[in-house]
């Protein structure tokens, strides 16, 4: 594999799409667990390959400035995507134990988190800090939904309206989704770091307000040759091939 930013970016995008697929499979009751495990295996392979690629890229190309930031961020995003794969497995395991419990928030959470993951990957592809910022802001919505699941679980549990084990599994699913939301947020923060060099982590004040935008040097200011090319056609083919197996 060519040791370049383009290969690194392509691999991260492929891995991200597998992570999206993993979440879909986790919620698809008709899908077998083995299908999900296969996707997770592929995510894990990418985890190793991408870390190795980052290491070689940094050692051999001595990147600086935005390229260095990109490589550092890829190491982190790589880890975050791998953990999203793990969370999908956890969701599937818990969901297999849920039969009757009705928690409408879980569906909303699933949709919100799915959108966050898609948008953080899009923001990574296009270096779109505005989109990354919107993902970060959305994290609060997912956190609130998780709290609401726990609240509902406690209320229904007290009224003995649901089986505790099932309810507990639902809270676990909510926790997994909340974690995926956090990981998508981390990825978005890394995108902002790649583009602007600003580290906005652990700064709730900045996250709450529109200050992020002020801190950013937006993508439009970067020369077009610096937007690394991503061969989407190639990635789509890859995804089709791997998920059709």
């Amino acid at each position: 594999m060519e040791i370049s930013i383009d290969s690194l970016k392509e691999n991260i995008v492929k891995m991200g799409m597998l992570a999206e697929k993993a979440i879909k499979l986790a919620f698809d009751k008709s899908a077998k667990s083995s299908e999900l495990f296969e996707i997770e295996d592929q995510i894990n392979s990418f985890h190793r390959v991408n870390d190795d690629l980052c290491l070689k890229y940094m050692a051999l190309k001595n990147p600086m400035g935005p390229d260095l930031r990109f490589a550092i961020a890829c190491v982190k995003i790589n880890g975050d995507l791998e953990r999203i794969g793990d969370q999908a497995i956890n969701i599937k395991r818990s969901l297999n134990l849920v039969r009757d419990a009705k928690f409408p928030q879980i569906h909303t959470m699933k949709d919100e988190v799915g959108r966050m993951l898609k948008e953080c990957l899009d923001s990574f592809i296009h270096k779109d800090t505005k989109m990354a910022t919107s993902v970060i802001h959305n994290d609060q919505v997912v956190n609130d939904l998780q709290r609401s699941v726990i609240k509902m679980f406690l209320e229904q549990g007290q009224k003995e309206e649901l089986e505790l084990e099932e309810g507990f599994q639902v809270t676990k699913i909510a926790k997994c989704l909340e974690r995926i939301g956090d990981l998508a947020t981390n990825i978005s923060e890394d995108v902002i770091f790649i583009v602007s060099g600003s580290d906005i982590r652990h700064n709730p004040e900045i996250k709450k307000t529109s200050q992020i935008d002020e801190k950013l040097r937006l993508i439009q200011e970067l020369p077009s040759d610096q937007n690394q090319k991503v061969d989407m056609e190639n990635i789509t083919k890859f995804l089709k091939k791997t998920t059709e197996k």
Partner: protein, 255 residues
């Protein structure tokens, strides 16, 4: 923390070779006990600028300067200033090690002091040892001080030249690509030495090796076509440069 004192500064420094305007209005301040790198593509004027800091540039026929170079507040281009005295205060190490071939290791180190009229042998010996120790060369040459300077390896010769430069205690040391003729091991030892020298001196280094600038320099200035594009802390220049040209250069997209 107390702010470091500015030891050398240039103000609108212009350098010419006849009609050719090689360096255009550069203003930079250099603090004491710091390493300052100047980077830029070939022909950007960085060596010319460096050579103007101790009035070596003007030795080339047709070459001249405008603007100011202030050493501890005094403009070295004022008419009453003796360039020889300036070069004693602003030492220089060149790209290729250039020990005097006819002189011994010892005499290479103390030649500057001898030219200043120092005759006291004990003092010369003391200065030679101190300078060679500071240049991290003493242990390797202490038993062969009378051998010719040129009998040493390239890396040792460069350290000998550094010892010669620091023997006269200049507050500022200029280095013009001091490791470009050396292998990675000798380069590492010179870089280590620079970090030691920084404890006492202000070092200004021109280098083509960006990693070297990133490794050793506190501050980095980036030149293109005789103009200063950006200057700042090396950690900022190499991780998050503000100017697009700098970004392009350090990422290898330009230059």
């Amino acid at each position: 923390m107390e702010e470091a004192k500015t030891i050398l500064s240039t103000k609108n420094l212009e350098c010419y070779f006849g009609d050719f305007h090689a360096v255009k209005g550069i203003s930079i301040e250099y603090k004491e006990k710091s390493i300052n790198a100047i980077i830029g593509p070939s022909g950007c004027g960085k060596s010319t600028y460096l050579r103007s800091l101790n009035r070596i540039h003007e030795e080339i026929p047709g070459a001249y300067n405008k603007g100011e170079v202030n050493l501890l507040g005094k403009n070295i281009y004022e008419k009453d200033v003796d360039p020889v005295l300036i070069r004693r205060n602003i030492g220089m190490v060149f790209q290729k090690p250039n020990p005097f071939p006819s002189l011994s290791i010892f005499d290479n180190v103390v030649i500057g002091l001898k030219l200043q009229g120092v005759k006291n042998k004990a003092l010369l010996q003391e200065k030679a040892e101190i300078s060679l120790r500071k240049a991290a060369l003493w242990d390797e040459v202490k038993d062969k001080l009378n051998k010719p300077g040129t009998s040493l390896s390239g890396g040792q010769q460069q350290r000998l030249c550094i010892a010669r430069t620091i023997a006269v205690d200049p507050p500022v040391i200029l280095m013009d690509e001091p490791t470009s003729a050396l292998d990675p091991i000798a380069t590492a030892s010179i870089e280590e030495l620079m970090l030691e020298l920084k404890k006492e001196f202000c070092v200004i280094i021109v280098t083509h090796n960006m990693q070297q600038a990133a490794r050793v320099a506190d501050n980095t200035a980036f030149f293109v076509l005789g103009e200063l594009i950006e200057q700042g802390a090396s950690e900022q220049i190499f991780t998050n440069p503000k100017q697009k040209k700098t970004e392009d250069y350090i990422t290898g997209r330009f230059g």
